[in-house]
């Protein structure tokens, strides 16, 4: 079954995260890396949750990853795929899998980032199966 598009709620945007959402508007998936311990964390924060350093820096992620887990929400008016995606950069983030037949969505499958407009015209990173 192919997917019908649903309406995406707006993200909450604050001082710590506005760069992430600006990046999304420009078609970029931005991540936060800590210059002290070298680790990428998610969701992006001013202070590294691994080592507590405030020397954190934005960078553009590859946008490639694999499905860590998923669940197809069938009891919604427009069914959708909830997922956790593990990026090549090592972190796992919540997202939706779009543009894909439900039957093709499997754990471990390669996905790439794409973007969807939210109801308030923000841009939201989502993923689709790689061809």
């Amino acid at each position: 079954m192919s997917q019908q598009e649903r309406v995406y709620k707006d993200p909450d945007i604050n001082m710590e995260t506005e760069r992430y959402w600006e990046g999304a508007k420009n078609g970029k998936l931005l991540m936060k890396k800590c210059n002290s311990c070298g680790k990428t964390h998610f969701y992006p924060r001013a202070i590294c949750p691994v080592c507590s350093s405030s020397d954190t820096e934005w960078y553009e992620a590859s946008g490639k990853g694999k499905i860590y887990s998923y669940s197809i929400m069938r009891r919604s008016e427009i069914p959708y795929v909830m997922a956790y995606v593990t990026l090549d950069e090592g972190i796992t983030m919540m997202s939706n899998i779009v543009e894909s037949d439900f039957d093709d969505v499997k754990i471990g499958k390669a996905v790439e980032v794409t973007f969807r407009k939210t109801e308030g015209n923000q841009s939201l990173p989502v993923f689709r199966l790689c061809k």
Binding site: T17, S71, M73, G90
Partner: protein
């Protein structure tokens, strides 16, 4: 052998309602408090410590203490979702051991059913939640979040829908004897896997009920317990934990029970094999399966095999669980099941469970609560309880 206990559970009460259209939430809190005090043989004027969750009306416990006319010198509003009340038992024991209070009242009440709450729609708690922007737009709801835990567990360990179904089957066998249970029909594995898919791989019958009501517990000092008689139950050990997404580096195949369980078992100085009865939080079948593994009743990944073939059914299997029917069939008041987990464990240790599900010579019991969502942020609370002569 008589084990040391720093405090005892002296009173329990589970509200019989499952839909409270004509009652307020404060009224339900007061009704369960009165019920538990009566069960203990105490009055509200004996209470000097009050515990409730962050969901109770008002700021902390203050409004409810005022409504019920409590005069308290100790309060705790630890909020870890549905595990709160198990955690409260542990905190009450420590407060009593420290001499800060002698009679602790713990209450839970809510009416999601009367208020028409469904589990659809994103759970938006508002405020300055740091994760909100990165979750709410994707429409996480309780069923798809637990669905992802189940899907990953299946992927890593080969767990099947049929194995998960056995958990519901066992709960239904127990619920048939509970006159207050919402779902009293005995179901089969086929019934579960043939029920409508809600969010893959969880079917409707993998999910708990939504119910109104609540419950209360009274925890007292050893001196007071002595005066109240042998229906008091020992609290032998308590453990708690918070598990979260850890900066994007996490594993959905285990829960906070992997930490809270060993802490509780160590304090009680008992092993999983010593437990005669277990109350395991059952928001979904997968919650039970992962928790059973995490608590050490079987190896990680072997939960599916362990729960199969009636192994959780009282009188049939090795680990009788949720003999009241649990959240899957009986009651999940205010979408928070930790309270009823402790209550049924106390019934078992008193020999007051329904005769058809009573575990013979039940001496040691475990109650485990899970709060929040096991696929994001989750609280865990484990208590090990012992019969008065344990």
């Amino acid at each position: 052998m008589s084990r040391m206990s720093k405090a005892y559970i002296a009173g329990i009460y589970e509200h019989p309602t499952r839909k409270a259209v004509d009652k307020t939430i404060p009224q339900l809190h007061a009704e369960v408090a009165i019920g538990a005090l009566k069960d203990a043989g105490l009055t509200k004027d004996d209470v000097d410590g009050y515990f409730c969750d962050g969901d109770a009306p008002g700021l902390g416990g203050m409004s409810m203490a005022e409504y019920m006319g409590l005069n308290i010198t100790y309060t705790d509003t630890t909020e870890t979702g549905g595990s709160s009340y198990v955690v409260h038992v542990g905190h009450a024991v420590e407060a009593i051991a420290a001499g800060k209070c002698n009679v602790a009242l713990i209450t839970l009440a809510g009416r999601p059913r009367a208020e028409g709450l469904t589990t659809l729609g994103a759970r938006d708690r508002g405020g300055e939640l740091p994760e909100r922007g990165f979750e709410i737009p994707y429409a996480p709801v309780i069923t798809n979040m637990y669905g992802m835990a189940a899907m990953r567990h299946m992927y890593e360990y080969g767990t099947t829908s049929e194995q998960l179904a056995w958990i519901k089957v066992a709960a239904s066998h127990h619920a048939q004897h509970n006159e207050h249970a919402m779902l009293r029909d005995v179901v089969t594995v086929e019934d579960v896997v043939n029920s409508p898919m809600i969010s893959d791989p969880l079917h409707r019958l993998d999910c708990c009920v939504i119910s109104d009501g609540g419950g209360a517990l009274i925890v007292v000092s050893p001196e007071i317990a002595k005066s109240l008689g042998d229906r008091c139950v020992k609290v032998l050990g308590h453990g708690e934990a918070v598990k979260h997404l850890n900066g994007g580096n996490f594993d959905l195949t285990y829960t906070g029970a992997a930490k809270s369980g060993p802490i509780a078992f160590a304090e009680a100085n008992v092993k999983p094999a010593d437990i005669d009865y277990a109350s395991i939080y059952d928001s979904f079948t997968i919650t039970v399966l992962e928790t059973i593994e995490d608590l050490g009743f079987c190896e990680k990944g072997q939960g599916g095999k362990f729960v199969s073939d009636g192994n959780l059914i009282s009188g049939v299997g090795k680990l009788p669980f949720n003999t009241d029917g649990g959240g899957l069939c009986n009651n999940h008041p205010s979408n928070r099941g930790g309270m009823t987990k402790v209550i049924e464990a106390v019934r078992q240790l008193r020999g007051e469970a329904h005769p058809r599900v009573q575990v013979p010579d039940c001496t040691l019991a475990l109650a485990h609560g899970t709060g929040g969502q096991i696929s994001t942020r989750t609280g865990a609370g484990t208590v090990i309880l012992g019969r008065n002569d344990a």
